[in-house]
């Protein structure tokens, strides 16, 4: 049942943990996710989805960065090195690679930063630096961007109260970065995604968003993680599955009114 072993499970501060899992997954793409079974018992019943934060050297496993918000993540935070869990994946489409790292504008809020690290790391030192615009609410959240700086990402932080970085919302920073030819990748709270999406649309900049939905299967069969989309402006709206059609969608495909 358990195909992965906890290598470490580090408390990053506040509700945040970084866990490394020895696990024989294959064929990862940045922005994909895994479904983790946190317990061998039947409660909690379903697997929990987590973005791939990093891929370990030699592809010996992965790291996830997670926030404790409920029972499943609570149980995860209590695991010790050597404990075993079951990992299913990699799942989902992921973010496409961009040619010019300097053209990439990552926008994240809170734990939404998780799926960007491996992507950002992969681009580091390959030409111009990508930028990460990060909206934080607590000092523990601010700490989550340190590894991005360490690999050479240009990081700009905002906090609502201005205690760290600039004061305001992440979208305030965005306007300056929305230059033609750039691409925005966004992950975070729904409100943020909508605002980012709208800003990008106004400026005619391409924008991809990574969505979240309650997931039962993670592999496109339960049809639970539906989101209303319109692949082409002329087409009829229909439901796409966040797990198998996403989690990354072109923002103009999303029927934002349906949320």
């Amino acid at each position: 049942m358990s195909n992965a072993t906890v290598i470490y499970n580090e408390h990053v501060g506040g509700p945040f943990f970084r866990m490394a899992l020895r696990w024989k997954g294959r064929g990862f793409r940045p922005g994909q996710f895994v479904m983790v079974r946190v317990s061998g018992a039947l409660d909690p019943l379903l697997r929990r989805p987590f973005g791939i934060y990093d891929v370990l050297g030699g592809r010996k496993g992965i790291e996830i960065l997670y926030k404790v918000v409920g029972r499943g993540t609570g149980m995860l935070s209590e695991l010790d090195p050597g404990d075993r869990v079951d990992v299913l994946g990699p799942l989902g489409n992921g973010f496409p690679m961009v040619r010019d790292p300097g053209s990439l504008v990552m926008v994240a809020g809170g734990i939404g930063v998780a799926p960007f690290f491996w992507l950002a790391k992969g681009m580091a030192g390959k030409g111009r630096r990508p930028v990460l615009l990060y909206g934080a609410r607590t000092k523990e959240e601010v700490r989550l961007v340190r590894p991005f700086r360490a690999v050479g990402v240009r990081v700009r932080v905002t906090t609502e109260d201005g205690s760290v970085g600039s004061r305001g919302l992440v979208t305030d920073l965005l306007d300056r970065e929305l230059v033609e030819g750039r691409t925005v990748y966004a992950c975070g709270p729904l409100g943020m995604l909508m605002a980012v999406s709208e800003a990008a649309r106004r400026r005619g900049v391409k924008c991809l968003v990574s969505l979240e939905r309650a997931m039962a299967c993670g592999i496109g069969v339960c049809l639970g993680c539906a989101v209303k989309t319109r692949p082409h402006p002329q087409e009829q709206k229909h439901y796409s599955m966040v797990c198998s059609d996403g989690p990354v969608f072109a923002s103009e495909e999303i029927d934002w009114d349906s949320f």
């Binding site: 049942m1 079974r37 039947l42 409660d43 909690p44 019943l45 379903l46 697997r47 079951d86 299913l88 939905r213 309650a214 997931m215 039962a216 299967c217 993670g218 592999i219 496109g220 069969v221 339960c222 049809l223 639970g224 993680c225 539906a226 989101v227 209303k228 229909h238 439901y239 349906s258």
Partner: protein, 327 residues
């Protein structure tokens, strides 16, 4: 065809083959509708040829969009779903999905539904000629638009009409899937078998609900949804056992099966086969593990043919409290 000709498994040790009213399966383990997609999605995770049968997602005459989100929520040892029967429609199934499924030596059961009796029989008729379909499973837990949205599956008269119409529309094996949301499952069993079903599967989900207390709103966009998973197993098992008391056709047990032990509970209580549903979300290869576990159990107990234990339940002498109200 004699029983032995299909009942030996690859392992050659124990006979797992079963015959559900003419539908012959290499083993008694199927996957439940709506939890296994159109089957092919699971080929990365298991050898589909191992399965007794694949039951595909419910098919309607025309494609259906399904319900708005949220559509699922976890509950203690279970989950609620309100997918709203989103599906590609019977035509797209036949054209796009079936050719892929035909590559496997596993039986294919097409789960079907409609909002009128006519729709049910139309879907069945379309499937009748489709190469690679071995049976239809009628999902009668559906709103009957002609009856003001009342569910076919809770009214024996309406249920019979559906079964009779489907029976007439197809030469395929007809399995009827019962809803557990009824006072007396035996009434439904009798109704659908009198209407000519070849086998009966039960249970579908139990209607349930969850509330987001922070927002003071129903979690599901549809307010109520269907409860599935281990939580419902004791109820499903009781209904299968009750059904087996009155059924003249074979019974297929569904509801909360995760392990071989769970499946064996149903078989011993009277089910000739079982379906694994929500467990497919926990481990995509749950059904294969169930098959392996049944084989182990049989070897451990010296049972050569799984049919020996179907309905082998010993019940104690006179029941102290014969009605089932046992508190």
């Amino acid at each position: 065809m004699g029983r032995t000709s299909f009942s030996m498994t690859a392992s050659g040790k124990v006979a797992l083959g079963v015959d559900i009213g003419g539908l012959k399966l290499k083993n008694p383990v199927m996957t439940a509708s709506g939890t296994f997609g159109y089957g092919i999605e699971f080929s990365p995770y298991m050898d589909l040829n191992r399965l007794g049968a694949v039951v595909v997602k419910g098919l309607s005459l025309r494609p259906r969009d399904g319900n708005p989100a949220p559509r699922t929520i976890e509950t203690p040892c279970g989950m609620l779903n309100a997918i709203g029967l989103q599906n590609v429609g019977v035509e797209a199934f036949i054209d796009e999905k079936l050719p892929l499924l035909r590559r496997f030596s596993t039986r294919v059961v097409a789960n079907i539904f409609g909002e009128t009796v006519r729709e049910y029989s139309e879907v069945a008729r379309r499937l009748d000629g489709a190469r690679g379909v071995d049976a239809v499973e009628i999902n009668i837990s559906c709103p009957n638009v002609k009856k003001g949205g009342m569910v076919f599956g809770t009214d024996p008269v309406e249920a019979s009409k559906v079964v009779r119409a489907v029976r007439k529309a197809t030469g395929l094996h007809v399995m009827t899937k019962l809803s557990p949301n009824v006072t007396d499952i035996k009434v439904m069993v009798k109704a659908v078998q009198d209407a000519g079903t070849d086998s009966i599967s039960l249970v579908n989900t139990i209607t349930g609900m969850a509330v987001d207390v922070e927002a003071r709103r129903a979690v599901l966009a549809t307010t109520v949804g269907g409860l599935s998973g281990p939580a419902i197993r004791p109820v499903a098992l009781r209904m299968v056992w009750e059904a087996a008391q009155v059924a003249r056709v074979p019974i297929v047990g569904v509801g909360g099966i995760v392990t071989a032990r769970d499946a064996l509970e149903f078989i011993i209580a009277g089910a000739t086969a079982v379906q694994v549903g929500t467990a497919n979300f926990l481990e995509p290869d749950s059904a294969v593990k169930v098959i392996d576990g049944i084989e182990d159990y049989m070897k451990r107990h010296g049972i050569r043919d799984v049919n020996e234990i179907v309905g082998s339940l010993k019940t104690p002498g006179p029941r102290a409290n014969p009605t089932g109200s046992a508190r």
